[in-house]
Symmetry: C2
DNA sequence: GGTAATTTGTTGGCTAAGCAAACATATTAG
DNA sequence: CTAATATGTTTGCTTAGCCAACAAATTACC
């Protein structure tokens, strides 16, 4: 059993796994493209016309997709019906933070249906977070007309999350240690709840619907108020590691301090590259990402310019190392790292070039994150959609 | 077509791909285990008895495996025939180095059949390397009795290799730049030739037949005379990156020097952690790995102890970063890095613990590489075996 | 405006391949 | 020597994708 895994065989590969794979392929395509003609499904999957017709029919029967009249502006030939995710299929997304808990309702098309942000006076305990989230979920649920199919709840958690069971091993900013958040919310709501690290979910969201569409190998780094998180997509799949902790770029050592002077700080990326320091040199307190970016771009202060370059130097080291190790096609920068990139992307690129192998650097490009504030909602919902996308016939159980 | 890829669908998933997958699963298991009863194939694959019988029969017919009498010491019940790789199925492995070119003949069971090391006065040009390799291959070929099935040639190359076409982008120690080595050897021998970075092939070999058996996420680092190479296995698959350059840990920045004093060296791992420096403090010139290790362990010199710790400090930083980013289950150290680990593994572990997140470190262990000098031969041959393992029915073309 | 070309949907029969069940066989247990 | 057990072997069943023929809906073009 363990050995079967080691050959790379996931499930049974008996005859009916073919059906499962094909249903999954079709549903996944519809999910990602949001709208698609049946004929393009045929070309994209490489399956026979008649087979695709049968697959789509089954998905319609299961209430996962809807088929509608062909679009008018078509080419020569018989028009092909349009296939879209059934709007009744939804997932909840939950994102607890220091100052708020956000709950969203996301459709199978990857679009936000509803979004509720509950502001907080102080950082919530696990019990509070679960209580508030389940209450909001209950409210939204009460508004359903009965036809909705909720596939589950995905949680974007700011910390180390063991993805097997959604236990938060450590969320320093929330002060959570070894908290079975997913399990608690599951008990409170009755839905299946899956948790994941916020930045890793963001990486996946950017790959599916943002700057990384169609890219199979990318590195995503996000700069937030509480530090730097990241995620890696390898060959189209989010990198997990053994227990789901992969992608912690924030703790990469980027200076020799620790090795040199024992008294110094650890010299990790997220100690050197911080939003707070940018705000300080800009003489601002707290700002939303756009505001920060405008101020950075507008600033003519030498102090600001120097600080930006200092931070870009360190970011360049971390990215250079990442490029050497992972040889990605794309590096996506989100949060205030995106702002830094906007301010002086060329300088950052020159630094990455300096610290990475020419061949690896040559195959790479950089981009800002495209998804805005919905990114974590979409990423979290993706967790909840995953089972049904992988196995549309039995994904519910 | 590109999009089909982005859904994670490799080939066609029509009905006969099931057969391909199952044949591949069986042959891969036989390849890895070397010897296996048919009944254990049934349990390991999860397929039906009769299906496995048919699959094995087809593989026998194609000359890829042999079935033999059941082993005598069996349990209750009808004994099950033993399935093994057909010994006639072989691959050539080629490893050009500064001072020698090694050619090996490796069986489908992953064992060395023959090995020829051709010593050189000076570093070979590409033409020389290809010439020598193809001549040795010709000689070995001449000794075949005609029944041998050569699936191809795998090359372990000390440098950056674009794995799509086996072009060496840069092999600093050999002085090769943008050399289509694989193509040249293919033309010279008529066999299909595939090339890969030596350390990455080593990582795969260790995973299949060495310290990493059964492990799905591992990081491998090898220390050689010419630097430090590495490879990463993610979820059971070697990490490639876009063009196959992933795993270049040697160039990881482990000091802040470059950012601090522009005059200093780059401060990369392989500039700080070197075999030459160990040899220098040991007052040795050139030594085989075992000799170096014995000397290191035996030495009581303070200078040696200090240098070992200095190198372990840097190695600890690089590994700590790697652990944070990749969250591996196992770190395997080969070459003189294995020797360093033997000398003071506990110190290295303490350093890795210091630079990595506790949760990620807790899930990890370290080990020495197990495969000796055959590692590159086995890893390279694996490249040649890959097509036939993936598609036993048509892997030849 | 009518016919041809084109593309796609629909239907019915075919085939590949895994599965299940019944039976056969070779071993150990006692 | 018989029972228990595990596995090989054989036969027919079922699933599901494919193909080919035909139908339908659109554009192209005279």
């Amino acid at each position: 059993m363990m050995m079967a895994e080691s050959v790379g065989l996931r499930r049974s590969r008996n005859a009916d796994s073919v059906r499962r794979r094909n249903l999954s392929a079709v549903l996944t395509l519809v999910h990602r493209k949001r709208s698609l003609s049946r004929s393009s499904l045929t070309t994209l999957t490489g399956l026979n016309r008649s087979t695709v017709a049968a697959l789509v029919a089954e998905l319609v029967l299961r209430g996962l997709v809807v088929e509608s009249e062909p679009s008018t502006n078509s080419r020569v030939g018989r028009p092909s019906p349009v296939v879209q995710p059934d709007p009744r299929v939804v997932a909840f997304a939950v994102n607890p933070e220091i100052d708020a808990i956000t709950v969203g309702l996301v459709g199978l098309s990857g679009t936000m249906v509803k979004r509720v942000r509950h502001e907080l006076e102080r950082s919530p305990t696990v019990t509070e977070a679960v209580g508030i989230a389940s209450e909001i979920i209950g409210q939204i649920r009460a508004g359903f007309d009965g036809s909705a199919l909720v596939v589950g709840v995905g949680m974007a958690l700011p910390g180390l999350v063991r993805d097997r069971d959604g236990v938060v091993r450590l969320a320093p900013h929330l002060g959570w240690v070894d908290e079975p958040v997913a399990g608690l919310l599951e008990a409170a709501t009755g839905y299946r709840v899956v948790g994941g690290n916020d930045a890793r979910l963001g990486a996946n969201a950017e790959r599916l619907f943002g700057a990384g569409r169609g890219v199979r190998d990318l590195v995503y780094l996000n700069g937030g108020a509480s530090g730097i998180g990241g995620g890696v997509i390898v060959d189209g799949t989010p990198l997990r590691g053994v227990e789901g902790y992969a992608g912690e770029f924030g703790h990469t050592l980027v200076t020799g301090r620790s090795a040199r002077d024992a008294a110094g700080s650890r010299g990790s990326l997220e100690l050197e590259v911080t939003r707070d320091e940018l705000l300080r040199v800009l003489r601002m307190n707290g700002a939303d990402p756009d505001e920060l970016e405008r101020a950075l771009v507008a600033s003519t202060s030498a102090e600001v310019r120097i600080e930006v370059r200092r931070q870009l130097d360190f970011l360049g080291i971390a990215l250079g190392n990442a490029v050497n190790i992972l040889n990605p096609e794309l590096v996506v920068l989100g949060g205030f790292l995106g702002a830094l990139f906007s301010v002086d992307g060329e300088y950052l690129e020159s630094k990455v070039a300096e610290y990475s192998l020419p061949a690896a650097y040559a195959g790479m490009r950089m981009a800002r994150a495209q998804l805005g504030s919905d990114i974590l909602m979409i990423g979290a919902a993706e967790l909840a959609f995953a089972p049904i996308l992988a196995d549309p016939a039995n994904g519910g159980e």
